[in-house]
């Protein structure tokens, strides 16, 4: 069951692990945006070199990384398939009904493949080197300007932490209930889509009831330990912005500059 741990975090001490999670989140978002500015062979080559440079210099377990990404390539292939056969333009090599294999189709499907691959590689890298709680902290910190408009960001952060804490528990519970129903003869892997979806009702009902009673228990437990929604809260983990975060952003700006020189 552990192969689907939330966030797929791999503990470690590489430079990527040490970067501030806010830097990592903002940089990966920024990188995804600039990918869209690449429009020729040179600019794609630059971004690919950068992506693989980050992966190889990060010191994470390469084999684990590429094995983890592999299942996602099916998703890329579906996309590329659409792109390859539904785009028209330039010389047409083959066509059948709405499908065609054209010069533009081939070129744009290669670009889409590369773009999609870089997005997946980069976001996997982010998730592998950043603990889910750190991501939650970083999102809280990035959203903190919303406090000015009285958005209850502290409470939202607490809810996120609680939710992250209970995801594995509820996943285990889901599996336990599914096994209990299997023991009573429910077959989850048989029949068409509709039949399989229907088979989920006897799983979801006890799951829901348990979740709501758990929420009640948790509330009692929190209040008996003195929790009240009011007042400023202090925190155990503190995010610190270091020199390496500045360096990381400087590298990104340099990359952007190069990209704009190389694109046409």
């Amino acid at each position: 069951m552990n192969k689907m741990i939330l966030g797929r975090y791999l503990p470690g001490d590489t430079w990527l692990h040490r970067l501030d999670p806010r830097t990592k989140i903002s940089i990966s978002f920024y990188f995804i945006v600039i990918i869209f500015f690449a429009n020729n062979v040179l600019s794609y080559a630059l971004l690919l070199a950068f992506t693989f440079g980050v992966i190889f210099s990060s010191g994470i377990n390469q084999k684990f990384f590429f094995n983890g990404v592999r299942p996602l390539f099916l998703l890329i292939l579906i996309t590329v398939f659409f792109q390859l056969f539904l785009t028209r333009g330039g010389h047409i090599y083959w066509s059948f009904g709405p499908f065609a294999l054209s010069q533009y189709g081939i070129r744009s499907s290669i670009y889409v493949f590369l773009r999609f691959m870089m997005i997946i590689l980069m976001s996997t890298l982010l998730m592998l080197t950043t603990a889910p709680l750190m991501i939650a902290d970083a999102i809280e910190s990035l959203l903190s300007p919303l406090k000015r408009i009285h958005f209850p960001i502290d409470q939202i952060a607490l809810m996120i932490s609680l939710a992250l804490r209970f995801v594995p528990t509820l996943m285990d519970e889901t599996i336990t209930i599914m096994n209990a129903q299997r023991a009573r003869g429910v077959d989850f892997s048989d029949g068409g889509l509709i039949k399989r979806i229907k088979a989920m009702i006897p799983v979801l009902i006890p799951l829901f009831v348990n979740t709501f009673s758990r929420a009640g228990d948790l509330g009692t437990a929190m209040e008996s330990r003195g929790y009240s929604g009011e007042g400023e809260r202090t925190r155990y983990r503190k995010l610190t912005w270091a020199r390496r975060d500045n360096i990381a952003w400087a590298v990104m700006l340099l990359l952007t500059g190069l990209l704009f020189i190389l694109r046409n």
Binding site: A163, Y227, G229
Partner: protein, 163 residues
Amino acid sequence: MEKVSTKTAEVTKIALVAALYVAVTMVIVPFGYGAIQLRLSEGFNHLVAFNKRYIIALTIGCALANLVSPLGIVDIVFGTLGTLVMTTISYFLTKRVKSVPVKLTITTVVCTLMTWSVALELNIVTKVPFWPTYGTVALGELLSMALGAILVYLLQKRIDFTK
């Protein structure tokens, strides 16, 4: 359990419904992401027809479930905003409706139609054509919402979601 103040109960209910959304997304169906997706946990969207707190619960749940999405941060931002908007619309449209089946029908329709945001996101990022993607994503949503409607209808007889 009645002694717990409403504020704490509010926090724990939101947190646990969010966690349940993530758990169900990850355990039950192995393809909750991408152009052809079926997320049974989307059926929980019906809860917003009973109480507005579930808008927050589902938005957080969706953000956390998207942490493992192959599209990563793009899905976290746009997928989450999509859920926020669709649940908010559902909440306001069902607010004055008394009959539970009508409430559930409205949320099903709203959420199915609102999947255009997911289709648009996939269209921009991965260049899949918009309309076929909208079709497959909306179909997946419709199936999940239909199951969710049955589920929530059965459950609301036992659990008072409005409280």
